[in-house]
Symmetry: C2
Subunit: 106 residues, 2 copies
DNA sequence: ACGGTAATTCTGGTTATTTGGAAATAGCGG
DNA sequence: CCGCTATTTCCAAATAACCAGAATTACCGT
């Protein structure tokens, strides 16, 4: 309805989305590798070699992480550099900690 | 192999498991309600009234949260009191923050 | 033991996710 | 434009998740 429609339940949905994205060992592994490779990032091919999973499978999971804003890509010639977006993670942890600290440890 | 078999990838799997459990709006909502009701906790029936979802559906999702250690139950007569287990969440956030802080913000 | 309340498990139908090979796309160098 | 490398999209099959009604278990009071 209103222009300011970022309600609390939107935040819950967005957080859930990101948690779900990280809630699969393969994807959490991908994300971890990217965080460790920060700030330079890692090419898709490097990730593939590192994690030893088929290209198409990696691509599928990367897309998931990108869709929810946890990872971003930048093209450099023929290779795509992937980077973890720390802001998204901070937002997610922030929601969790806020929820955790409401009414129980003020 | 060894008795001390809690490897780093076990931690990754356990974390992923918990993130997946929280990675569904319904379950994140359940968990949030329980955190807010801490330390007293909430009966299953109260949760059901609060969230307005069918009993069996709530039961299904609660089991998920219990299996991964995020929620515990204590029987009080005929009612089951549910509580959020803060330790599990702290472990999960700890893993995430540790991963986030390796090589990128020392 | 019986009746009532609280909650779980059973069951099935439906929908979403994961997976990886094969084919298609994108960009560069010659 | 052609070949080459890097990566994605397409596709089909196997698996897993979700939902909610009906049947079941658990516990208490009388």
């Amino acid at each position: 309805m209103s222009a300011r429609s970022v309600t609390q339940s939107d935040a819950l949905e967005r957080t859930a989305e990101r948690l779900e994205a990280l809630g699969r060992p393969v994807r959490l592994g991908v994300y971890r590798a990217l965080v460790r490779a920060a700030p330079a990032g890692l090419a898709v091919g490097d990730l593939q070699a590192l994690l030893a999973i088929p290209r198409s499978t990696l691509s599928f999971h990367l897309r998931r992480l990108i869709e929810v804003g946890l990872v971003s890509q930048e093209r450099q010639g023929t290779t795509l550099i992937c980077r973890a977006d720390v802001t998204a993670m901070e937002d997610t942890l922030g929601f969790l900690q806020r929820e955790c600290c409401t009414d129980c440890c003020p």
